[in-house]
Amino acid sequence: MPEKQRLEFEEVLDKYGQKLFNLMLRLTGNYHWAQDLTQDVLLIAHREYHKFRGDSDVFTWIYRIAVNHHRRQARKMRVRSWLGFEDVSSEVLSTDITAADPAESSERTKVVARAVSALPEDFKETVVLHYFQDQSCEQIAKIMDCSEGTVKSRLWRGRKILAQKLKGYISETGV
């Protein structure tokens, strides 16, 4: 990679590394898996960076790689899990302290994280991008390569499911 591109890419890593990791963490609901997937995404982005020439902004580009990579891996994981190769649930619920997601420090964040990661994939992607990554519906539409209307409807359906699942915490706020 030429020095100029290298510096640019370093900046991209600096700026989006943590965000990407949090994206993967909320999509997978698994601290270890999120590390592996973040690393894969950085590898792919690094390999493809010379092809990226600003037709979209770098953020949209790298997030699209991330969302697509997660979809493929989640699908593979489901297949493996169905085949009995991976007991995903026991891994996710592992009591191994190093596997703990630091965000799940309270009962409430734990319940919220689990509720989000149990959403159907496309609702989850939209909810995570919107609420945890502060993306507008317009941005999400670009990342997910779909219409803004689709994003809004997925988000709405995801919110309705979450409102049901998190009823206990919602009523604590006096609703």
Binding site: R72, F132, C146, V175
Partner: protein, 232 residues
């Protein structure tokens, strides 16, 4: 009428404040008032969710490692070695996976626009994977890529090529890897295709499977994957 507008507003303008007319409505409509407050509370709960620090090894030093194309892992969730299972077990797996994939293909790809998956089923069979035809004698086999999936990124320890044929394909099968015919080195049955590449460089690769159907037509499926360079 206004009840509908509240839901519409919530759906169309997530997080936005309520316009005056709708504020007036929720002041006198308990159902909408509840819906509004519920969504506000959910909004607050989700927005307050904490961010997690990036593990140090993925941070500042990541670039030099990326340049070596090395993939380090804290603890790999997907342990290698599962592919070394005995062949009969593998056959069962592939058969089962094919069923799963039939569902996955029709279901998942329908939702991803502009995807370059090219599982083209050429010839005179227009049926989509998973659809039912009436005359069994006319059913042509479809090709279901099993492993790696299209545009997958795989490590060397996970490298094998599998595809499934359904329904059974009694005819001629050709397997190509990067346009080189590897059929002779592949294990091909009426339902499955396996190929273990012995020496394959890191980078992008393309698998193509060609079936010659009983009616003389051809069906092709091609998909690509990326092989990672692992640290030596």
């Amino acid at each position: 009428m206004n009840c509908q507008k509240i839901e519409e507003h919530l759906r169309e303008n997530p997080g936005a404040p309520l316009p005056r007319e709708l504020q007036e409505h929720i002041a006198q409509c308990p159902a909408c008032s509840l819906l509004w407050r519920e969504q506000q509370a959910l909004n607050d709960i989700l927005k307050a969710f904490p961010q997690v620090e990036l593990p140090a090894y993925l941070g500042a030093k990541a670039l030099s490692r990326l340049e070596g194309r090395q993939r380090v892992s804290g603890k790999k969730l997907l342990e290698p070695g599962w592919l070394t299972l005995a062949a009969p077990a593998m056959a069962l797996i592939v058969a089962f996976t094919a069923l799963v994939m039939r569902y996955e293909y029709s279901h998942q790809y329908a939702d991803i626009p502009n995807r370059s998956v090219s599982v083209q089923n050429q010839g005179n069979n227009n049926a989509a994977p998973g659809s039912v035809q009436n005359k069994p004698s006319n059913i042509l086999s479809q090709i279901y890529p099993v492993w790696p999936s299209d545009q997958d990124v795989v490590g060397r320890e996970d490298l094998t090529i599998m595809a499934s044929l359904y329904p059974d394909h009694p005819g001629k099968v050709q397997v190509l890897l990067d346009d080189i015919d590897v059929s002779a080195g592949s294990t091909i049955s009426r339902q499955h295709i396996f190929y273990d590449p012995k020496s394959l460089g890191a980078g992008e690769h393309m698998v193509r499977v060609v079936l010659q159907q009983a009616d003389g037509s051809y069906q092709t499926a091609s998909w690509s994957f990326y092989l990672l360079e692992e640290p030596s």
